[in-house]
């Protein structure tokens, strides 16, 4: 495999990593917001959050990516267009999709904290906000790390779906180069890169878990 193929695969890796990082950064706070709305006792908040989670988890991510990018152009007089910005559309689709999964993880984490913890906070005079940030949230973080880890590793692989918009991230680059050069090597290199990224993430996640091991 020559140097220019390798260079192209690295360029693809940069796009993959950028997609991954921006999705994590934006989908976690959005997921927390959706989780809080989903748990609201006021249906105007909880019902849209439920629908959001149902739709985003219930349809293929690839469909969501295509719908988001091509949809506006297919609807007459829609008044919005991506102006050909495929990267942005793909990024938004990933963020919206992962926020739905994170929301359910956070909800499980928050609801899993025993009621007595909040009651102890209240009896000690802590406000609701203080109780959430001092008592509940730190315990939620510990509980959600393992399921979050699964999703984070899935996300690295799911970034490959944005190739349906013709974006040359790592997977698409490997596919095109493999057929252009009639070589299996681009696939192997791409696989190795995905694996390396996830090995690093797995390591970081296990360190984080260990750090939170000081209590049970």
């Amino acid at each position: 495999m020559n140097a220019d193929v390798f260079k192209l695969l690295l360029d693809g890796t940069v796009i993959t990593l950028r997609m991954f990082a921006t999705t994590i950064i934006f989908s976690i706070p959005l997921g927390l917001l959706v989780a809080v709305l989903r748990m609201s006792r006021i249906w105007i908040f909880s019902l849209p959050a439920r629908l959001y989670i149902l739709i985003l988890r219930g349809t293929p991510l690839m469909l969501q990516i295509m719908f988001l990018f091509y949809g506006p152009a297919l609807i007459e007089n829609f008044g919005f267009s991506w102006n050909g910005n495929r990267m942005l559309a793909a990024n938004v689709a990933l963020i919206l999709n992962y926020a739905a999964y994170f929301a359910e993880i956070f909800r499980g984490g928050i609801e899993g904290i025993p009621m007595g913890q909040r009651e102890a906070g209240k009896v000690l005079g802590l406000s609701r906000t203080q109780t959430f940030f001092i008592v509940v949230l730190p315990q939620v973080v510990k509980r959600v790390i393992p399921p979050m880890g699964n999703e984070i590793i899935n996300l690295v692989k799911d970034t490959s779906l944005i190739q349906v918009l013709g974006i040359f991230e790592l997977m698409n680059t490997a596919r095109v180069q493999a057929s252009a050069k009639v070589s299996v090597l681009p696939y192997l290199v791409a696989g190795g890169i995905y694996l390396a990224i996830n090995a690093v993430l797995t390591f970081v996640l296990s360190i984080t878990e260990k750090k939170l091991d000081y209590y049970r």
């Binding site: 913890q117 009896v123 000690l124 005079g125 315990q139 209590y215």
Partner: protein, 250 residues
């Protein structure tokens, strides 16, 4: 005796289930009242209403001159948070914060609520841990302690806010029998220091020896209030008699 807590005609229902029908009693400063009664009688609900964990439906509750609830309404938010700090509650299952060390469990509320400086809060926390016999456990985490030790920490945590009255809801029910003694000893030492307390308990011998008065509660009403000797040797009400006899046999 000066009245610290006054409860008049307190009522509480969950849906159509009347759990507290018409509860009235006074608690004097330095007084210890034990509350006995069969399961489901409303003992926990009473303590939870007085600590604002459940909303009161009707009645008048006054604490240390401050009205907590009257005419179907609670005091203002500012008054309520002041009143909250005057009442401590020790739960059956401790409810310590597992992610905080023992000393942090004791300092978090004084620092965040009373704005006590950290050094001062820690000094006071260490003194309280010493009092419950756990000075050397300050830097442990709750999971590293036995149930009895955890409950003693929970008592110290409640004391850290310097409450006027302290409530206990079956403080030893979640403990192995061999661990109840250490917790009861701590509660007794508080009684010796004239801490004002209400103790919901199934420990008859303890209730008899530590209390100034004993309340027997059933189906949401106070059936009988007596001095401990009277309650345990010569209860007036036949329902009380049955309950005490049954409990003694066990």
């Amino acid at each position: 005796m000066e009245t610290v807590l006054s409860v008049r005609n307190l009522k509480k229902s969950f849906g159509s289930l009347e759990v507290l029908r018409d509860i009235s009693f006074d608690l004097g400063r330095g007084e210890v009242i034990s509350v006995l009664g069969p399961s489901g009688g409303g003992k926990s609900t009473l303590l939870r209403c007085l600590t604002q964990l459940e909303t009161i439906d009707d009645g008048v509750v006054t604490l240390d001159g401050d009205v907590l609830f009257k005419d179907g309404r609670y005091a203002s938010k500012a008054d309520l948070s002041r009143i909250t700090l005057k009442i401590g509650l020790v739960f059956q299952n401790f409810n310590l914060f597992p992610h905080l060390s023992v000393i942090e469990n004791l300092t978090v509320a004084p620092m965040k609520v009373k704005k006590t400086p950290k050094a001062e809060a820690q000094e006071r926390a260490r003194a309280l841990l010493d009092r419950v016999g756990l000075a050397e456990k300050a830097d442990c985490y709750p999971y590293q302690l036995s149930g009895g030790q955890q409950q003693r920490v929970a008592i110290a945590r409640a004391l850290a806010l310097d409450p006027e009255v302290l409530f206990f809801d079956e403080p030893t029910s979640a403990l192995d029998p061999e661990l109840t003694g250490e917790v009861l000893r701590v509660i007794r030492s508080l009684a010796d220091r004239r801490m004002t307390m209400i103790i919901v308990t199934h420990e008859m011998g303890f209730a008899r020896s530590v209390s100034d008065r004993v309340i027997f509660m059933e189906n949401g009403v106070i059936v009988e209030t007596s001095a401990p000797e009277e309650m345990f040797t010569n209860p007036k009400n036949p329902r009380t008699r049955d309950f005490i006899m049954n409990a003694m046999e066990k």
